[in-house]
Symmetry: C2
């Protein structure tokens, strides 16, 4: 990209319009709705008071149009799944509320909608939207968190009574960490091994009432509070045990598997693995939502830290004297490097998120995605969830440190953002497991080459085609093809700021890492006894493949977003921000590029110099870039982000 004239000021509104994107009206509604005392960030509440507050917030949201977005028109919803995910990500005033909303309308309501059929929808969805029926998504067990397929709760069909008997066979099988369980939930979607006529049919979900109208646990249901957590203490996580709890046959969410009155099992999907992953696949919304919510927390932290760094001064310039000659923290290169590449990454992830939400939405409301695209969507959801949540963990930490002691005070919100967002890397799929899913999906493209991929411990993940990621340009494909096709510079001669060169660098890395991994695993043979060792020895390589894929996909989304931007100054700053995003990635992994002859030592050093130079050039625009996120001051709440530092220096 040619470097155009450097603007003095960036039009914040132009940037915000681009960021607000397709669901701008939902973002505006959220900004208008989440106001006043009820939605102001708070700290220092004890667990009971925090839960109470979040329950009140949830009830207030139930009065708005927000819950209707994600549900079908047949029950009074708006069939606007994209809007529901954007609304979720806007709930940054309290991440406990975000998660509570996710549990009630996303996981619980989403499971009833996606795994259930018309009678379930008619009976429950309206009450779920209104929170008349608060519910739980009871999948995770203490003994099996990541390995859902092996969970041990059973639902055995009793033909005589035409009922299922739900049982927790041992301590490892208790449902654990279940949101809404400790205090509010009346019903749970319980995932259990379905047994009928003495035969097991794998994991299915059933609706099990857990509390009566008065809030007392029902007979046979034991409920325990998980107790205080690092954060998210406004969410009432609990544990559930079922002692031969009976539910009617109709309690089975029977879209993908049903049991006749006589106990005959039937399913539209014959292969049990494929059935399992199809069922899980319908829950992809949760992972996408978490990625977006995590990035919201990163944006809020960056907004606080950048504003503080812009106002806070420390140490005088040589030759200066007096407070005015003290240097704002954001003028220091080290401080810029802490915050600005992270800011660029939050922009990149924002655009990738918007694109993923759009793809899901279009498949949901228009022409359904074919199986290939559906698997690709699931892979991207898994990958983006991992990358976005790790970005958030690192960024909020960096922001806390960048604000020094002020960042450690509860009133400045960073402690709560850190504590609350910390578990995003774990829930809805542990990141390490998710990146392996992405990589295994990428490897399915090589299956013909080495036949027995299943031996490599991948049967449960990849063989069922749970994830089928591809090394293929998809986001704005025509745009990327044109970009790469038209570019003249190659290798050493290409400008570091040449977007085509940048893109090819990431694309080439992805292909090389995945191909190398495929060769490596193929070379290891297919004996199950040695397969685990071979796969495990390559685990760092596996994770790298997943990561490389996500990086490239995110860059595509950033490029496509810039292409949509019509304001020249906003476009200029986005171009620099995209440079910073991709060159920071290249810098962080430049050892790989050096090891594989993709960068010479001189060029690798030039990448570092370019990152420094971009930090300097973007520094004057940092505050505008933050403002464009459109996070109301009331949501940031931190005095250090709202003028306290400036006032103090003025003697206020």
């Amino acid at each position: 990209m040619a470097i155009t004239t450097e603007p003095d000021r960036i039009d914040v509104e132009a940037l915000r319009t681009l960021l607000d994107g397709r669901w701008a009206h939902v973002r505006r509604l959220a900004r208008d709705t989440l106001r006043g005392e009820l939605f102001a960030p708070v700290y220092g509440l004890d667990m009971a008071a925090h839960r109470e507050r979040v329950a009140r917030q949830l009830a207030a949201l139930a009065e708005t149009e927000i819950p209707s977005y994600g549900f079908p028109a047949s029950v009074g919803g708006r069939d606007d799944v994209g809007a529901s995910m954007v609304a979720f990500e806007m709930l940054v005033c309290d991440l406990s509320l975000m998660v509570k909303v996710g549990v009630q309308w996303g996981l619980f309501g989403g499971a009833v909608q996606s795994l259930g059929t018309e009678p379930h929808h008619r009976a429950y969805l309206a009450k779920i939207m209104s929170v008349e029926l608060p519910g739980c998504f009871a999948m995770t067990e203490t003994g099996h968190g990541s390995d859902v397929q092996r969970l041990r709760t059973t639902a055995e069909y009793d033909r005589a009574a035409e009922e299922f008997v739900v049982t927790t066979p041992d301590e490892a099988a208790r449902k654990d960490y279940i949101g809404n369980a400790a205090r509010d939930g009346r019903m749970a979607v319980v995932f259990a091994q379905l047994v009928t006529r003495g035969e097991r049919h794998g994991v299915h979900a059933l609706l099990v009432p857990i509390r009566d109208e008065a809030g007392r646990p029902l007979p046979g249901v034991r409920i325990e509070d998980c107790g205080p957590k690092a954060g998210l203490n406004g969410v009432d996580n609990g544990r559930l045990w079922f002692d031969r709890v009976r539910v009617p046959r109709a309690a089975l969410l029977n879209r993908y598997g049903d049991v006749d009155a006589d106990g005959t099992y039937r399913s539209p999907i014959a292969n049990p693995n494929r059935r399992f992953f199809t069922m899980l696949g319908t829950l992809v919304r949760g992972r996408i939502s978490v990625a977006g919510g995590a990035n919201s927390a990163a944006k809020a932290a960056l907004a606080i830290a950048v504003r503080y760094a812009d106002a806070r001064r420390q140490f005088e310039r040589p030759g200066g004297e007096g407070p005015a000659s003290e240097v704002p923290l954001l003028d220091y290169l080290a401080h810029q490097r802490r915050l600005l590449p992270a800011l660029a990454t939050s922009y990149a992830l924002h655009f990738a998120q918007e694109e993923l939400v759009s793809t899901l939405h279009d498949g949901w409301t228009g022409t359904p995605l074919d199986e290939h695209r559906q698997r690709e969507l699931e892979a991207r959801a898994a990958g983006l969830k991992a990358v976005a949540t790790w970005h958030t963990t690192r960024t909020v930490q960096e922001c806390r440190e960048a604000c020094g002691g002020a960042g450690y005070l509860a009133e400045n919100r960073l402690p709560q953002l850190k504590a609350d967002s910390d578990v995003y890397t774990t829930f809805e799929g542990d990141n390490t497991v998710l990146l392996q899913l992405v990589a295994k999906g990428l490897l399915t493209n090589y299956r013909e080459e080495f036949g027995s991929l299943d031996a490599f411990g991948m049967a449960r993940f990849a063989a069922g085609q749970f994830v089928g990621a591809v090394i293929e340009r998809t986001a704005a494909r025509a745009l990327i093809d044109r970009l790469v096709g038209a570019a003249p510079g190659r290798g050493e001669e290409a400008d570091l700021y040449d977007r085509a060169w940048q893109y090819r660098l990431l694309e080439d890395r992805e292909r090389h890492v995945v191909e190398g991994l495929a060769r490596r695993l193929r070379g290891a043979g297919s004996d199950p006894a040695t397969a685990f060792a071979a796969f495990n020895d390559a685990q760092d390589h596996v994770l790298k493949a997943g990561r490389a894929h996500v990086d490239r996909v995110v860059l595509e989304a950033f490029i496509a977003a810039i292409d949509r931007c019509v304001n020249p100054d906003a476009r200029w700053v986005l171009d620099r921000l995209c440079d910073l995003y991709v060159l920071s990635l290249v810098e962080a992994d430049r050892a790989w590029f050096l090891e594989h002859g993709r960068l010479t030592p001189a060029r690798a050093k030039a990448v570092t110099a370019a990152v420094n130079s971009l930090c300097r050039r973007l520094r004057p625009h940092a505050a505008a870039l933050i403002d464009a996120f459109g996070l109301p001051d009331a949501w940031l709440a931190a005095p250090i982000a709202l003028g306290a530092e400036v006032d103090r220096r003025r003697g206020g």
Copy 2:
């Protein structure tokens, strides 16, 4: 080092003896003393209850010999400063207690001892040891945290009354974040600009009473609570304002500067800069203590995460069936890479800490260090503090994630360890500032070469010779010289496990980075107007120089510790652990080694393979390595580290 026979089991006691080191008796005393309900880790206390509990713990410790270690025999102390620092680092049962102890006996008592003279010692130290006089160390101001020399509180001598008048001139000058101020402190060591006869003499410290016997603020003193923090809520941080508060002339801690009755100022150190840094230098204990305390938190987190990873199983081996064929998390390479290099680093930092404490102790109790060695000690304290506290922040975070949802539950202690230790990177000197101090000290060796180093914004740091780090082998110098001198392998041919090659690699990196930095700054000219820009442009280079220095010094300490180990099996595992420490460092920075022709691409890849191989070989010994830390189960407290996972799998 030749790879000797791989032992089946490691003698934990042999390792612990080595780790317990010179002050083993203090570590044993702490393990015996910090027992029972009073010292058990707790969570979920509100701020008031937590402060109350920590105050009771402090009172109980005052009954032991622990407070006496750090104080002179003349007032009933034991003159064993090393013991006082080791005792501090053992207070890992609650980091709030650790910090409270640090404030009362380390900072407050230490300042009275180091900056005061005999009359102050006689009047106060016994009461400080017994906590009859709880006190504060009031240095930091809201407007000046890192830049202490520019703090704005004034202490103006009133000749007529023979008193100092202590004043907070504006909001930026209020004392902030002062431990012991919000609740318990009766007196404060207040750092202020000393003014007498209308002349300023720079920062000095005075004893200012702040509360009466009943705990009420004294006239002219305003006290505010800093309120809830991310962690350490058992410590009562507060803010102090002084409105023309009068204290007698004798309140001045007058070891390095005094005022006669007639207002004449006198000091044994003529140069005001040098005086300032000499005064700060006496407070070096605080930084060393923080480094040790931080590593204790990292060890506790690693103990919890390694034990859990050893017991927790997830996913079956291919071809297996049933719980017994599920794979312990610690068998996964990705999990090993999360925890084992961090474990190796905690060992390395432990030995570096022990050495630094010993050096300080010997200078304190025996032959005082000459100025060169004193500056070197200060540089190492600054550097080790930065590196150890960042290690802790990263490691506790990694441990939390490695324990998944269990790591997010308050009962499993990781949330508290994370929240409490998070500010260690900030207090006692922000890490970014400290690493710059180290680098600037290293540059003083090049001063002759470019004369006007002062122009590079370094006047206040380096010109006063505050820090004079040197590229010089100091820890176990003869040992290192012998090691490096005797080694045959060079360059490509050397074994990656050849300690001499490893050492030279780090030494060479340090020299190259520092020399390059010196050249770069010299080339930038000496005009003050451009000097800031030149220095700022090189800030990432500056930080790298500081870091490279610390890495090499820490490796020396590790090598010296292995040399002290007489048990062959323990020595074998320490050798591998040292390999993992240094090769992890090299791997993380292999881009630099590639860019500077120190590693070929093939060799860089071999380093990664070696790290993986070391993880595999150390995995069977991970539990023993953790046990050797000697952290009592009662301090870990986390159910997941104490058999809950094993019990659960047994159906318990």
